[in-house]
Amino acid sequence: MTTIRSTLTLLLIAIAMIVGHVHAQPQGDPDAEAFRSAFLAGDLSWDAVLERAAAEGEVVWAHWGGSETLNTWIDTVVRPALAEYGVTLRTSRLTNTRDAVDLVLAEAAAGRGVGQGSIDAIWINGENFFTLSSQGLNFGSFADLVPNSQYFHFDTSNPASGPNLFDFGYPTNREEIPWSGDQYMCAIDTARLERSEAPADFAELEAWLRENPGRFTYVRPPQYNGNTFVQTVLYAHNPDGDGYVSFQNAADALGVDEFIRITQPGYEYLQRIEPFLLGGGGSDGMRGSPIYPEDQNGLEALFVNGEIDMACQFGMYNTAVSIETGRFAETAENVIFPAQGMIKNKNFIGVPINAPNPAAAMVLANVLASPENQISKLGTIGYVLGIDADLLTAEQQAEIDAVAPSLVGITYDELGAVTVPDTNASLVDVIEGTWTAFIERRSGSFEDSVRAAFADR
Amino acid sequence: MTELRLAALVKEFDDFTAVDHIDLTVAPGSLVALLGPSGCGKTTTLRMVAGLEHPTAGDVLFDGESVVGVPTERRNIGMVFQRYVLFPHMNVAKNVSFGLRMRRVSATEIERKVAEVLEVVQLQDLARRFPSQLSGGQQQRVAIARTVITDPRVLLMDEPLSNLDAKLREEMRAFITRLQRQLGITTLFVTHDQVEAIELADRIGVMFDGRLVQFGTPEEIFNRPRTKRVADFMGTNNLIPGRLDVQRDASTLVSVAGPLQCASGAHHVSGEDAIATVRPEHIDIGTPNGPLQGPNRFTGRIDDAVYYGGTLTYRVVADGLSLQVRDRSTRRFAVGEEVTVHIDPSHLWVFPE
C-alpha cells in the first residue's frame, strides 16, 4: 500500500515539476466561503460559530515556539479552554513567523482558496502582517466580531485605540486581534555590572563600550529583537530630535532622501560601536566581525555565560520570569535603556484567508482574548496584556496588579516615561536591508545601501 | 651460511600452548622440514623464527646469537607464505625488488639483481605483469624470487606448495630443491605432507600438539617412527601390538600371531607392551611353501586387493593379524587365495606402546 501510494505521489510530483508551477485561480470551498461572508457580515450568532467550530473539530495555530514557558502555558491553559468547545488545538511551533506566512503565500499561489489552506491562526505582527495584508490574504475584519472584542478599544476617535488599530504604524483594519503586548527591556547582572555603572543612553553605551570592549551585543537583524535595537538607535539619533515620530510614516510617504537624512547618524553610530561589540575588534582575523546572536535565546546564553553584561530584548517581565525559572542569576535586574525611548508594541492573532477551520480560528481568537486567560498569561509567564485593562472590572484590575511579575529594579513610572511606539511596518524591511548591506556586509556607501534596500522592498 | 637453532622455544597464547619447548638445529645450508598435522604449532614456530610472534620463553639463535629482540625486518630472513602474499599493487619487478628498495640499494644494482633473480626463476618475460595476471606456479616463483634476492641468512617456507595442483607441485618441489642446493640457504620448511617432507628435506622434525616428537633424517622418520602417532602420520598402516621379550642383541615381540623377531630394541625392556611396525612395501609375499625363508613367516589369506599406480596392495589376514602388503612384482594373487608373508626382522621397528 505504502509503495503504491508513494509511487502515485511521485508521479504527481513529476507532473508538477514538468508542467512547472501550478497556477490556478483561487477557488474556495463553497461552504467555507459561505461561512466567511456570513460571519464577516455579522449575520451569524456566536452560538452558530461555536457549533461550526465544534464540527470543524480542530484549529491549527502557528506561533513562535522558542519559549518553554509560553509553550507550557498554551498547552495547559489554551488547549483545555478550547477543548471545552470541542476544538482540538494543534500548534505549529515556528522558529520564525515568516515560515507560516510563506506557507500561506505558497498555498495561495498554488490555488488553495478559502477553507483550503493548512493554517488557521498565526501569532503575527509588523512586517509579516503587512505582507499578508498587502497580498489580500487575510480572512477579513473579524477582530470586533468576537464576543471578547468588548475588552478592546476599537473606536477610531479614541487615542487609546491606536495600538489595536495600528500595527507598526500600519492599519490593522481589524484583520488581526491583539493578544499580547511587549516591551523592549534591557537586563544587567548586578554581580558583574553595578547599576550605577550601567549605561543609560547610547552616548553612555558607546563610552562604556570603549572602556569595556566586547561586553555588549545585540540580536542580528532581521530577527525582530535585532530590528528593534536598530530602531531604538535610529530614534535616538534622529537629527530632527523628534525620535520615533518621523518613523511613523510609511516608506513611500517618507521617501528615500528623507529616510537617508534621518537615519544616517543612527547607522553611523552602529558602525562606530561595531569594533567594541562582543567579538569585534579584529580578534578573529576575519576583519573582526562581531558576534550577533541569532535570536533572544542566543543573546540570553551570552548573558548567562558571562560574555556580555547587558542584554536587550522584548519581554517586559522576562527578567523576573527568567530568575524564577533559574535561567538568570538572582542578581539580574532591569535597567532603563535607552533613555531616548524603549519600544512597546502589541502583537496579534491573524487569520489567513484560506484557514481550513475558520470558525475554530474565531473561537481561538476569542479564547485568547478572554480576561481570565489574559490574566493567567500575565501571571504565569509574564506576557503583557493584549486586552485594554481600563475596560476590565475593578476586581480584574486589582487581580492584574496582584499577579503581575516584578519589573526587577525599575518602576512602571520610569518605564512609562520612556516608552515609544514601533516603526511603521513598511520601513522595517528598509531598516533591515540597510543594516544588512551597510553594517553587516559593508557593501557600499550608506546612501547606496539605503537606495538598494528601498528598491528591494 | 647460517646455523639456525631453536632452544627450548615456547609460545603460549591466552588459553593454550602452541609451541612447547622445542629444541632444533638447522645445520648451515641444510633444509629442515617441520612436519605435522594442522594446528600442531609448526607455523607458529616458523613465525617465531621470522620474528612475527614473540616467544613466551626460549630462544631463537642465528649462528649462536639470539635474535629474539631483533625485529623481523632486521633479521635478514626470507619467508615464503602459504598464500604467497604478493603485493597486488606492484608488478613482478617491483615485488621482487621490494626488499632491495627497502634497504635503499642503488637503482642500477636493483635492476641487475632483479634481472638475475628473474632469470633464475625463469620469469624474465613477466617482469611488468601484476600478480593477478600470473598463474599459481608463477606467483609461487615470484614469491621465492622476492625472498632470495636479498640473500637471506635463513629461508622460511610456510606450506609453499599446498596451493598448487599435483603436477605443478612436483615441478616446484624439484625447483625448490635445486634452488636451495644452488644457493645453499639454511632453510626451515613447514608442511603437513610427509611425501613433500621426505623428498625435500635433509632432516625432518615431526610435531604434534606443540611438541617435537621426532627429529631425524627422512629415512629414519620413515622407517623408524618413534611413536604410534608418527607411524600413523607417516602412512604406516601395519601396527602389530604385543609384549617384548629382549635377549642380548635381538628381541622378540610376542604378538597375537606368535613371536616376531625384531632387529632393534636393545634399549627396550622386557615385558614392556610395545608396537611393531613395518611398511607395506617391506613385507614379502609369496605362494604357500614358496621360496620365502627365515623367521617371521605367516600363512594367510588375501582379503582384498587394490591396484594403484603400478603396484598391487593386498590386505592379508593371517593368524588374527591384518597386514597391508605392497607388491611391485607382476604376480597376481586372487582374493581368497592362500599366501605366505614374510617380514625381514631389520624392517620391523618396535616402539613402546
Binding site: 512547472g20 524591511d429 536591508g433 | 625486518e73 602474499v85 608488478n91 626488499g99 627497502m102 622460511l156
Partner: protein, 308 residues
Amino acid sequence: MLATKPTAPRSGRSRRASWLQRLYVPLMLTPVLLTIGVLFFGALIVALLQSFGHAPIYGIEEFPTLRHYRNLFTLPGFWSSVGLTFYYALVPTVVGTILSIYLALMLRRRFRGKGLVQFVYKLPLMIPYLVGVALTIVLFGNGGIIARGMFALGVIESTRDFPRLIYSHAGWGIMIVYLWKQIPFTTLIVYSVLMGLGRESEEAAATLGAHRWQTFWHVTLPQIMPGIVSATVIVFAFNFGSFEVPFILGGGFPNTLPVEAWRAFEDADYSNRLRAMAIVMFIGVLSGAVLFTYLAAYRRFERLRGRQ
C-alpha cells in the same frame, strides 16, 4: 533456460519470457531511478530553472537570465564565503583522515579495553551533528566549561581572555564538530578495509626487511587507498554542503555558502530566493567539480602506477 527449449507448445511462453527478459533490467531499475530522478533531480531542475529566472510562484519570469549569478559573483563577501566553505570542508577532511588512519591502525593492535574502545568510538557516528554542536557550545564557548575551569584556576580573568573557538571565522568549533562526527566514520571504513586485507602482506614486507613506516607507506597505504578515497569524498561533500553546524557555530558574515543560501532564501525580499537557488546550484557544481577532479586525479594516479 526457457529460451533454450523452443518446443512448440512452449513457444508462446518463451516469447513472453524473452519479452520479460528484455524488460527485466529496466523494470528492476525503475523504482530507484524514478525516485531519485523525480525527487532529487526534479528538485535540482526546479532550483536550476529558478536560478535562471523562471519562478512564476514569486511572480518572476525572466528566463533565461544570468542576472542572479552575476549578482552573486559581485556580492560583497561572496568569494570570502567560497573560501570559508572550502576551508571548513577541507581542513577537517584532511586532518580527520590522518587521525582516522592512525586510529584504525591502533585498533588492529591488542590492548586492554579494546572491546570498550571499539564500541565507544562509533558513538558519534550514530547521533546527529546537532548533538555535537550542543556539546561544543557547552565545552568550548567563551563561557563554557573549559573557560570556567580556566577561570577557576586563575588562568583567565574574564570570558574575553579565552580564545574564541566558536562563533569565529577561524572555525575551530565547526571543525571540532566535523572531526568528532567524522573520525569514527572514516576510521570504520579504514578499519574494515584493513580487516579485509589481513596482516599477511605487512608481515611479508617485514620479512623482506621493510621497517614499520616503510611497510605502511609502500604496502598498507596503497591497499587501503580506495577506502580512504571514498571516505574522503563523502566527508568532503558533506562538509561542503553542511548547514546546521556553520549556521550555529559560525562567525557571522561572511557565512559559508549553504548558510548564505539559507539567508537569501529566508530574506523578506522574495526575489532573493532566486539568488538562493543560484548559490545552491553553485555549491552543487563546485562540490561536484572538486570531487570529480579529485576522483579523476586518483584514477590517473592508480593507472600511472599500473593498477587496473
